[in-house]
């Protein structure tokens, strides 16, 4: 059993998928507005298996985990206050993007604070723009269930694979549970589309965390910047017009095909850039 739980595919794929599916099924029947907690449960399960819950030392990795927790809590509060925030919805997109920028600057501060002013500004502005865009673009899609789930899945899976291939397996393992949770949610959505809700807690936690992981990977693990540029195309491409009254399956198919194209491009590019010498750890 121990050796099974030590396998990365189990830690970051199977366990979070099963956990997310269970939480989705339970909340789908009891409190659909909080279905986003499936993503939180999946992430926490992976953290328990991969890094443990200790926050010492407060490294960049632990900061990302803390940011994920905060995003989940904030998202849950917004989900619970849903009706009261109707008039303020349009401001939330900007607020989320701003919080994402604050988070990524906190995460990468140890490195940019040691750079020259010019380099610091380039890193800070570039990575802030990436995180802000990823969070904002996901936020505005929240009401389009097929499209938002495709964005979250492709962003998480793309971040996971490019991290593992090009930079850091640990970051990849922390991004994977969101892809697993998105897959679990999609399964529930296809079976019970009327009950499924893509909560704020889900997309906020997933988009902020995955964008932060990608940004941190460029700073701490030499992930190519262009990889982030290609991942940034995911929410842009998925904004294609899709008739909301078409069948669920057709909406899902169009959304996921659109999302997977830039994701595959990002993975392909990262594979090309990584060293040709074989290395398996």
């Amino acid at each position: 059993m121990d050796s099974l739980l030590n396998h990365p595919a189990v830690q970051s794929g199977i366990v979070p998928f099963v956990v997310a599916l269970a939480v989705t099924a339970i909340l789908g029947k009891t409190k659909p507005a909080l279905m986003g907690l499936a993503a939180a449960a999946a992430f926490v399960a992976t953290v328990a298996l991969v890094t443990g819950f200790s926050l010492v030392p407060l490294s960049s990795t632990k900061k990302i985990i803390l940011v994920a927790y905060f995003a989940a809590i904030l998202g849950m509060v917004i989900d619970l206050a849903d009706e009261k925030l109707t008039h303020y919805r349009r401001y939330l997109h900007g607020l989320f993007a701003f919080l994402g920028v604050a988070a990524v600057l906190w995460i990468i501060w140890p490195v940019i604070s040691r750079q020259s002013t010019q380099n610091s500004l380039i890193m800070a502005i570039g990575l802030s723009a990436y995180v802000a865009w990823m969070v904002f673009a996901a936020s505005v899609l929240q009401q389009k269930k097929a499209q938002i789930s495709a964005v979250v899945f492709a962003t998480a899976m793309g971040t996971a694979v490019v991290s593992i291939v090009g930079a850091t397996a640990l970051y990849g393992q922390l991004a994977s549970p969101f892809a697993a949770a998105a897959g679990a949610w999609l399964l529930y959505y296809l079976l019970a589309p009327q009950k499924a809700v893509f909560s704020t807690s889900f997309f906020l936690m997933a988009s902020v965390t995955c964008a932060s992981l990608g940004a941190a990977a460029t700073i701490y693990a030499n992930l190519p910047w262009l990889t982030l540029g290609l991942l940034a195309l995911i929410p842009a491409v998925v904004h294609i017009p899709i008739k909301q009254d078409s069948t669920i399956w057709l909406q899902v198919l169009k959304s996921y095909v659109a999302a997977l194209i830039p994701m595959i491009a990002a993975i392909w590019y990262t594979v090309q850039q990584s060293s040709s010498s074989a290395y398996y750890g």
């Binding site: 030392p57 490294s59 850091t168 640990l170 941190a216 030499n222 750890g281």
Partner: protein, 192 residues
């Protein structure tokens, strides 16, 4: 009378100062060209992987009269070298040492006991990735003399210690990649 008193006082002061200087020991600056921390770790149960850090600096003091001293070593984490560029890049990344965030690894002694057989036990604190833990170095082969080429006084030693990387927050790959890491430091220093 006053001149004699002043002379005596000056002599006592000079003697006191020289005794103080000798009591605090002799200071040796580590020679980076002959100081290398190595490490070995079990790799997947198949073999022992060895690597080293190529850039080290530090200062050692030795008080031969009191058989004590101090050790301060600073290691550049990004200088890690396991003879495989891709692996070295991985070791510098967030999965292991996160060199971009924690560029230095340090060791500072808290107690040094030099024994008569050219060995010593050094107790101190090792700091990796911002985490500080007590680590004891077992030192042997302490040897001091005059360098045959540059005629400077030099001292050298070998030191070993064993740590658990998980104690410092480096948990990637456990338990397949070993937790226990043996450290070896072979060092030389020139007297300042």
């Amino acid at each position: 009378m006053s001149k004699m008193l002043l002379s005596v006082l000056a002599g006592v002061a000079t003697l006191t100062l020289s005794m103080t200087a000798n009591a605090s020991g002799e200071t040796y600056e580590l020679d980076p060209a002959h100081t290398y921390p190595y490490f070995s770790i079990n790799h997947l149960g198949f073999s022992t992987l060895r690597g080293r850090f190529n850039t080290t600096s530090g200062v050692i003091t030795m008080d031969k009269a009191k058989n004590t001293g101090t050790v301060e070593i600073e290691i550049d984490v990004s200088s890690i070298d396991t003879a495989h560029a891709k692996r070295d890049e991985h070791l510098r990344g967030p999965d292991f040492f996160n060199a971009a965030e924690f560029p230095k690894m340090t060791y500072k002694s808290t107690k040094v006991a030099i024994k008569g057989d050219n060995s010593a036990k050094v107790e101190g604190n090792l700091t990796i990735m911002g985490v500080t833990k007590p680590v004891t170095l077992n030192v042997d082969n302490i040897s001091c003399g005059v360098h045959p080429f540059n005629k400077k006084e030099v001292c050298g030693f070998n030191a070993t210690a064993t740590i658990k990387r998980s104690d410092f927050g480096i948990k990637y790959g456990l338990p397949a990649i070993g937790d226990e890491v043996t450290m070896y430091i072979e060092a030389e220093g020139f007297k300042k």
